[in-house]
């Protein structure tokens, strides 16, 4: 026996198949789906201000059943809650940092006063552990935008510090041209959960040391690797200081390689469904809050590109695949013209994976609510004669087990209630 085969049972776990029956049009499916959509953040009125409260804390997140990791989250959810205001509203956001790390909030695409832009050491000091900061701005321009942490952005953003910010225009030209009632916000991201874990542990440990020095008033620029100006920086180097990015000090050669790809913080099979009816228009707001490009392709439809970075397009145009690059937002209108259940996914199929296994990632579905029940029966449409009772396979020599009367258990396993979709977790 080859020693290399010793306990090679890992293979068996992926060889198995798991099908879970479900009915997308059931009431339970819609209730469940509401948890997969972004949650709108309520506000309080303070005179002419709309006052929101965002806090950041460590959070245990589950992108798909059975897999959890530690991460950062606004108001204990990923993405953070959606801030939805009207153009011209005065917006006040009280930001509370409950973590032991530094943070800021950057309002991506919003014309904020520059001191409200959330870039540490450029527009403000970082919001330090257990501290608060009040952001105030007038909501403009209209459109689909988002907010995210701008401290340690490489890690903090992929760890979950992002959320949508929608500035509505009561006289929305898009809605005038493509009347719609329902709209969806889809926030995309990509996460290297191993990188997140290692970086968060490293940062938390460093912060303990630094907090100790801060309490004693001995924390200085060199320990923080933050300098007032270039002259101070170069003078420190002449005196023996070495920046952490040099290869003989602390440089990290391992850039993150995303292994989880999420929509609204969820990966397939936990991704949201987009419900539509024949003849209906729905608006989908696409936001890329991650560092990977997603080539989003919709099956069975061309959709209207109606806004780019929140800016309404004067001449909307049709596409069925759109490259959603990092930091980008697009608004699209889907017309309900082709009844069915259609997948909407990244055509860079490396990102339709969970920890390296396909299918997963940002795979989701556009579901027509007016799909007749009989069309949901999948076995009728199977080309495999095995599932066709009239194909006569059971009468072939040696195929007794394929007779109709013997197929109940097989069909039950394969189709369950015989409704779409199944959750297929195997290749």
């Amino acid at each position: 026996m080859d020693r290399r085969d010793f306990l090679a049972t890992g293979a068996m776990s992926t060889a198995g198949m798991l099908f879970i029956p479900g009915n997308l049009l059931a009431k339970e499916a819609k209730t469940e789906n509401s948890k997969r959509l972004v949650q709108t953040l309520p506000y309080k009125r303070d005179g002419e201000w709309k006052e929101f409260e965002l806090y950041i804390d460590l959070h245990t997140h589950e992108p798909a059943p059975g897999y959890q990791y530690h991460t950062l989250a606004f108001n204990d959810m990923i993405p953070g809650p959606e801030i939805r205001v009207n153009a011209g509203d005065k917006v006040r956001v009280k930001f509370i940092n409950k973590t032991d790390l530094n943070h800021t909030i950057h309002w991506h695409g919003i014309f904020v006063p520059w001191r409200m832009d959330g870039v540490p050491f450029v527009t403000q000091l970082p919001v330090m552990p257990k501290n608060e900061f009040i952001y105030e701005f007038v909501a403009k321009p209209e459109g689909t935008h988002f907010y995210h942490c701008h401290w340690g952005t490489l890690m903090h953003m992929q760890a979950g510090m992002f959320g949508s910010l929608i500035v509505e225009n009561p006289n929305d030209t898009i809605k005038e041209r493509f009347p719609y009632e329902r709209e969806y916000t889809l926030v995309y991201s990509a996460h290297d959960t191993n990188y997140i874990r290692e970086e968060m542990n490293g940062m938390l440990e460093r912060m303990k040391q630094r907090s100790y020095l801060m309490k004693e008033g001995r924390f200085n620029s060199e320990q923080w690797a933050v300098f007032d100006n270039k002259e101070q920086f170069t003078a420190s180097m002449e005196n023996g200081y070495q920046p952490p990015y040099v290869t003989n000090r602390r440089s990290n050669s391992d850039l993150p390689q995303a292994n989880w790809f999420t929509v609204n913080g969820k990966s397939y099979p936990s991704t949201p469904y987009l419900f539509i009816k024949s003849g209906e228009n729905i608006r989908i707001r696409l936001i890329n809050a991650g560092a990977e490009t997603h080539h989003l392709h919709m099956h069975g439809h061309d959709f209207w590109m109606v806004a780019d970075d929140g800016v309404p397009l004067e001449h909307p145009f049709k596409r069925n695949t759109v490259p959603l690059t990092p930091g980008k937002t697009f608004d699209i209108i889907v017309e309900g013209t082709n009844r069915g259940i259609w997948t909407f996914h990244d055509h860079d199929t490396r990102k339709v994976t969970n920890n390296g296994l396909y299918p997963g990632g940002n795979l989701l579905a556009l579901v027509y609510e007016d799909l007749p029940a009989e069309e949901l029966v999948i076995s009728k449409y199977s080309g495999n004669p095995m599932y066709n009772p009239n194909a006569g396979m059971g009468y072939m020599k040696g195929m007794d087990t394929m007779k109709n009367e013997n197929m109940d258990s097989m069909n039950k396993m394969m189709f369950g209630e015989d409704k779409l979709p199944k959750i297929a977790l195997d290749e």
Partner: protein
């Protein structure tokens, strides 16, 4: 039982941890029975660990390590000091195989692990003392339960190498240890006490004239502590101390050989003060000073041992240190007969130490995320 599957491409690549330590020194011995050495690379070692998650939230690690022993150790060129499997979950650890025995509860800042061996280890009463490895390493079967992340209760059985019966692999020692240990990542939360340990070991020796297993055994008790004198990230100071009371056989009143040395009653005390200067969150230099005293109450001739040891290390770059160590040992009475006269030893050294985990897949129990923000299985 070996299970195989035809789907070999579905294997999960493990976490791969590699650790290496290279210790190279030139030794100048004065007034010693032992010759000086131009290039001593003993205690150099390589350690490899392969870790994976199991299906039931446990984790397993296979560890393989080798060490270059002293030239006159009778162990050959290479000694495989670590060959074991560790199974663990959040609160339980099981170790099976050869590794460090729990006959030392503290790690002292000396150039080599065995520089103060006679003071800091409960010594193997089955060993002829030709090498130090047979005192440090044994075939172990250990179970440890962890309470509240910091209290480790361990019961363990060992097969220590028996110089007279080298092919006897039966259990010849059992013990229990209770250790309070602050995780490394939380040391800034604790000003003084980093570790307190208490251990009891019972060696199943054949004591002439005694038939009862317990009465015929050699027993010892260890008490250990690590105190943060100054938990400062830049100027760090600590004090480490360990006491070993060997409840040996009172009838051993002379030390004719190493067996007598390990089986007579003795009291051993050893402590070190360490100052570590850290620059830019990396070690810069370290100096330590320490000493030990060992007394023997039942011997017919006054005998004791004394050690003074001091060293300093300077970090030349990541993982590379140069160092100097001075050690003075004084033996009197029977210990002088056994181990030679007083000795001065000066060592100039270069040390390389490295540890890195590749293909990381899961966090460690001592990660702050696990310790402070719930354990993720």
């Amino acid at each position: 039982m070996i299970l195989i599957s035809g789907l070999t491409n579905a294997q999960i690549t493990p976490e791969f941890e590699i650790g290496a330590k290279g210790v190279f020194s030139g030794n100048l011995n004065f007034n010693s029975d032992e010759s000086s050495a131009v290039s001593d690379f003993s205690d150099t070692q390589l350690l490899m660990g392969l870790s994976q998650k199991l299906y039931n939230n446990w984790r397993a690690q296979f560890v393989l390590g080798l060490q270059f022993p002293d030239a006159n150790s009778n162990l050959g060129e290479v000694f495989y000091n670590n060959i074991f499997i560790r199974l663990e979950d959040q609160k339980n650890v099981v170790r099976v195989g050869r590794t460090l025995a729990q006959t030392n509860l503290n790690e002292f800042p000396t150039l080599r692990d065995d520089d103060a061996q006679q003071f800091v280890y409960a010594l193997n009463p089955f060993s002829d003392g030709i090498n130090t490895e047979r005192d440090q390493y044994s075939n172990v079967l250990e179970y440890t339960h962890i309470f509240k992340q910091r209290f480790f209760v361990s019961v363990h059985g060992e097969n220590f190498y028996d110089s007279l019966e080298p092919d006897d692999f039966r259990l010849n020692s059992m013990g229990i240890s209770l250790v309070y240990q602050v995780p490394q990542s939380q040391r800034w939360n604790r000003n003084i006490v980093q570790q307190i340990g208490l251990s009891y070991n019972n060696y199943f020796t054949d004591r002439p004239g005694y038939s009862n297993d317990f009465e015929s055994s050699v027993k010892n008790i260890l008490l250990s502590t690590v105190l943060n004198i100054k938990p400062d990230p830049i100027n760090f100071m600590d004090f480490k101390f360990q006491a070993i009371q060997n409840l040996g056989w009172e009838e051993v009143t002379q030390l004719n050989d190493y067996f007598d040395y390990t089986r007579t009653q003795s009291t051993s005390l050893f402590g070190t003060f360490r100052y570590l200067k850290q620059k830019l969150e990396r070690p810069h230099f370290q100096v330590s000073v320490g000493g030990g005293y060992k007394s023997f109450n039942d011997l017919t001739t006054d005998s004791d041992q004394l050690m003074f040891i001091t060293n300093g290390f300077y970090r030349m770059g990541e993982n590379f240190d140069i160092g100097i160590q001075y050690r003075y040992t004084e033996n009197s009475g029977f210990t002088q007969t056994l181990f030679g006269k007083n000795e001065h030893r000066l060592q100039l050294s270069v040390v390389y130490s490295f540890s890195k985990i590749f293909n990381k897949q899961f966090g460690d129990r001592e990660d702050l995320l696990n310790l402070e923000h719930n354990y993720i299985k």
